[in-house]
Subunit: 483 residues, 2 copies
Amino acid sequence: MPTQLQRAREGTVTAAMERVAEREHRDPEFVREQVAEGEAVIPANRAHDSLDPMIIGRAFGTKVNANIGASETTSDLEAELGKLHTAVHYGADTVMDLSTGGDLDEIREANVEYSPVPVGTVPIYEAVTRVDDVADLTHELLLDVIEKQAAQGVDYMTIHAGVRMEHLPLTDGRKTGIVSRGGSILAQWIEENGMENPLYTKFEAICDIFAEHDVTFSLGDGLRPGCLADASDEAQYAELDTLGELTRTAWDHGVQVMVEGPGHVPMDEVADNVERQQAVCDGAPFYVLGPLVTDVAPGYDHITSAIGATEAARAGAAMLCYVTPKEHLGLPDAEDVRDGLAAYRIAAHAADVANGRPGARDWDDALSEARYKFDWRRQFELALDPERAREFHDQTLPGDNYKEARFCSMCGVDFCSMRIDQDAREAAEDGEGKMEAIDDETDLDDSSAAEVNRPPVGEHDGSDVPDLPKFVDPYGHEEPADD
Amino acid sequence: MPTQLQRAREGTVTAAMERVAEREHRDPEFVREQVAEGEAVIPANRAHDSLDPMIIGRAFGTKVNANIGASETTSDLEAELGKLHTAVHYGADTVMDLSTGGDLDEIREANVEYSPVPVGTVPIYEAVTRVDDVADLTHELLLDVIEKQAAQGVDYMTIHAGVRMEHLPLTDGRKTGIVSRGGSILAQWIEENGMENPLYTKFEAICDIFAEHDVTFSLGDGLRPGCLADASDEAQYAELDTLGELTRTAWDHGVQVMVEGPGHVPMDEVADNVERQQAVCDGAPFYVLGPLVTDVAPGYDHITSAIGATEAARAGAAMLCYVTPKEHLGLPDAEDVRDGLAAYRIAAHAADVANGRPGARDWDDALSEARYKFDWRRQFELALDPERAREFHDQTLPGDNYKEARFCSMCGVDFCSMRIDQDAREAAEDGEGKMEAIDDETDLDDSSAAEVNRPPVGEHDGSDVPDLPKFVDPYGHEEPADD
């Protein structure tokens, strides 16, 4: 059975393309063209029944990925499904199961079964757990793991095939060496075996597996910079050139491709990084991790990286991999996931507005109109994170009567500029003043914005998602209270 | 006695310029030139004895302001001094006392007495508390309040003199009208009295007061946009033209000037806003509030605005007014102040790195080196917010032994890329591998970075700050624990 890419090339608009067109408010034929040209991907493994198809490409709404997964020490299925649902609830457009501990197959299969969004993995993580020493990894084991995960329904996989033997000495002048987990594993394998990267030498075999299951490549940037000093260096760009070659090889096999990018990049180099990837990889979608625009703020790296992510998306990155406040310091908890996703939905939306994506600004307009009208309930409802907005407001003014009050505790009633502005306009209308009243209404139901660019965040067609096991109550605790 | 500007024009390098040169690692003569040309300001009221002088200008490290102050309902002196010290501790380069309640004179005098950083105010807030109705404000009252605050030692004042009668109808097409508190008050006054803005008509009298005490103008942008839809509109730019005129008038009176800017601006318009202000106001320093690059995220506006602030500073804004997570929703608490300042120090520093400010990246390099060496204590020490970094790390690995561990709970020991990278390099060195070990050392003591661009954040020469009243323990609760 041909892949989405192959069918797009044949001129077929698939059911997934139809659904994507509906979600993005675009013409199905345009979706088909974008997929056919490789400028967009629809990661949709044939075996992922519960998937609500989505698209990643610079012509569409900017997407956000959240990493989830069990660690070496802590893992249980309930907790993992809880993470999946937290991520989807707060607006992740895809999730990556980066589990390195627990029953990997059980967790992965459950994630695929219950996820309405594409699930990505990094198969080398599982492969490493199956050997005592990284050097013992074999070509066969790697292909076996990849094939098994493909059969389990994984929609896209990070494959660090661009880390080549000849690139390794280019990392010697770096401050922080190789900071991609997959990249460092492969470098160690190459060093210890004195052989070329097995994911590179077996790339066509991987393509064949991917074509069979319609898995999308996420070509890993194993040599991405881990600090500002290492950004945009020879190692990074040598690998990118390889990723460009591999993109074309994958396309030749009818397989969809996106390309991963950094990492840590100063603000003034972010756009250059995106433009270079777009040129080298012939427009294949760019999927960036941040980038962090400074190294100095551990504890706040959702912010340091959301700044870079906004700039990257404005310059053409198609998907942003979130970073949580715990980056570099520890394992994120549910609140960290929430904070990370909020920062990244902001980055994605701000870039969509800046790029003039059709209808994107309608959301801003509708919220600002509610704000000006002191319609607090509507403002909360439209907020990116309604619970957080309500909670912050209610900390000082919890009473129900304050939900229509013409002020909040920030400025107080006497100094609320919007209240004063409205009074001045009213006085002006009554008398001979210069100002006029304002009364606007943006109808979001009529907006041409892509779904990802409209509230409520985290909505999906869940009709194909099976009922969850009893022990998980994914939305219960986050349900907005009546007020 | 001449102002800093007048003395700079005469060719005198003042003591304040000497101190600034030391803090910025620049030549005193360069500082003098920048002040003489109006491209930088040293807000330093003659009566502010405890001030450690600082400079605001695009040629220097990007600065951050924090707003503090008592509200109409809650206020006591102890709490206000606590806010001052929280702000300074977390790195505010200036503070604005926006008090609208309590004993305004007592609070303002205490802030000036105990603040090592410049104190700014918005005198119209006090003026409004002295009348029953905004329309009752008189020219005399406004000048009296301004003169009194100048005599009290306020270093800079926001004066919304650019809100002119003829601009008001330009705000009619807006979604959120006039959102500056000062701007809305003046619009109401203009509407109700049918007369021109008193701060505009009395501008030269204000200049005379400012010249006498060496108060710096912060020309308020009373018509700044309050949502993306209103950004860069006719009203905003008409006012900016007036601010350009007023800049030249103030300079003619020997008074230092900076100019305030928005607000809410889409990412793609931020740089244009900065460049336009620089052109219209002949290079006077631009002091921006954010800007927020989207309206949709109440509860996270420290992030929406830090994104815009980074871009603004990269494009040439000299000072960033912070926004806290409570913006639009309520009064910030100490933790909100901390979060807001962290976001803005990130923006300021990221822009300084992007702009190639001398030595700026040394901080990033030193932290990344500590990170690569698994020197956790040093990494915390160098972090923008050491307590937060340590706290997050210690949530999962509190033991003292983990302070030298070659992993953290984020990836675990088996999957820590930096540990794997180092092992691979060691193996390569022993054998015939391709990679080499990395051992770097950036000496921050030798860095040419401006003080604001080096850890520890929030350090000041406090030798002229009087001992605090007993009831305030400004640093006690934030002192890093021994570990």
